[in-house]
């Protein structure tokens, strides 16, 4: 399982490094969305309203949906699905590998967006650094949930079906992530939100390992 996971993760990251969809399309989209959010709030209110963490996670989930669609679109290209299926890869390994690659991609995007949140929305830098562990947990959860629901919504109309099925499932991650970020900025307690994030991550990893093979064959 681990061998397949590393193989799939390396393959997905190699494709991303070559196509640069994340660099040239997804991250710029996220930055523009963050700038627009800042403009909507107004430069004077953006920093003082405490909206930075919420806007960060709102934009992050939009970026995540794009990356999930992209990640599963790779597997649905003409001929790819059948060719790869005949390799008989361990589905749990494929799930973990795609989740790992998605985590690396989301972490890259989150680094840019968090910097944007500090620079454009005047969110506290110290608070943002303090929120880094909770962000990592939330990103890992988003990657696992996204990989699972990406497989569930594979096929025709996947791009429009994915948000419908994935967003409700991602809600605990988004709420706990945003609350942890806000708590880190305001000096509040982080432990309860970390617990929720860890539980959600473990649940999605467990579901993915158990169910990914079934979803692949739908």
């Amino acid at each position: 399982m681990i061998r397949v996971a590393l193989l799939v993760a390396a393959k997905d990251l190699r494709i991303e490094a070559r196509s640069r969809v994340l660099l040239w399309q997804v991250v710029p989209f996220g930055v523009i969305a963050l700038v627009l959010a800042g403009l909507a709030l107004g430069p004077s209110r953006a920093g003082s309203s405490g909206a930075g963490p919420g806007l960060f996670y709102l934009v992050l989930v939009l970026v995540a949906l794009l990356m999930i669609t992209r990640s599963h679109g790779l597997e649905r290209a003409a001929g790819t699905r059948s060719s790869v299926a005949t390799l008989g890869l361990d589905p749990a390994g494929v799930f973990l590998g795609k989740s790992l690659a998605l985590l690396v991609e989301l972490a890259s995007a989150a680094l840019v967006l968090a910097s944007g949140s500090v620079l454009l929305l005047h969110t506290s830098l110290a608070g943002t650094l303090r929120a880094a562990p909770s962000m990592t947990l939330a990103l890992a959860g988003l990657a696992a949930a996204g990989t699972l629901y990406g497989a569930l919504s594979a096929g025709e109309g996947a791009a429009t079906l994915l948000p419908l099925v994935a967003l409700p499932a991602m809600t605990p991650l988004l709420v706990a992530g945003e609350r942890a970020y806000s708590a880190a900025v305001s000096g509040g307690a982080l432990a309860p939100w970390w617990l929720i994030l860890v539980c959600a991550l473990v649940a999605y990893l467990g579901l993915g390992i158990l169910l990914y093979g079934v979803l692949e064959d739908l």
């Binding site: 193989l7 005949t86 008989g88």
Partner: protein, 210 residues
């Protein structure tokens, strides 16, 4: 190698295969002919474990289609679909290396296979930059690396020039000599002199066997 009895495959409420009875012995070449929608691709996909059996019974390469592990069956077939193979953004060499690693196969045969299909100079070219015929050759190279006991080839001559067709026939001949069982689909009967058998499909059934 292949045993089907009353094999039915239904997708979206539509019968892709409507009761196929078929016996194929090892180390043989079988050509599936028939018009569009006759069921050729569906039959190959069933034999490759890419779709499930809705009813009937079948055994392919030692795996029970109704109760066995389809993933195990997939590991025993060499598949060439009528689209491309693997990932467009990876190079030819990266694609073949990925596939070989996935099956824990030696990568030593990759350069020989690429040389055999005339793609050595394209080893570091992303697959999306290849012509349709060159993509078919990548698929053929993968079959050579894989050396599966059962080859399932869906319209293998599509997009190939005359040289490519000759190459394909050569490879099929060598594979047969090595003991592989090969099923090839085609819209029309092909000029394969070594074809032991031509099956004609229509409406998801075998309607002719010669």
């Amino acid at each position: 190698m292949v045993h089907l009895a009353g094999a039915v495959v239904i997708a979206g409420g539509f019968p892709l295969l409507a009761g196929v009875d078929l016996e194929v012995t090892s180390a043989s070449l079988t050509v599936l002919s028939g018009s569009n929608g006759a069921g050729k691709t569906s039959l190959l996909r069933l034999l490759g474990g890419l779709v499930g059996l809705s009813s009937g019974e079948g055994r392919v390469a030692g795996v029970d289609l109704a109760r066995g592990d389809r993933r195990e069956l997939r590991r025993r077939v060499g598949w060439l679909g009528h689209e491309g193979s693997f990932y467009d953004d990876l190079t030819v060499l990266e694609n073949l290396t990925f596939a070989a690693r996935a099956l824990a196969l030696s990568r030593e045969g990759i350069s020989d296979a690429l040389s055999r299909v005339g793609l050595s100079s394209r080893a570091h070219t992303p697959a999306r930059l290849l012509s349709a015929g060159q993509r078919r050759r990548v698929g053929l190279a993968w079959l050579l690396v894989r050396r599966a006991p059962l080859w399932l080839l869906d319209e293998p001559y599509a997009s190939l020039d005359d040289e490519g067709r000759v190459l394909f026939d050569d490879v099929i001949g060598v594979a047969l000599d090595a003991g592989a069982t090969i099923l090839v689909s085609a819209h029309q009967p092909l000029g394969l002199e070594r074809a032991a058998r031509v099956l004609r499909l229509a409406g998801g059934r075998v309607v002719g066997d010669s």
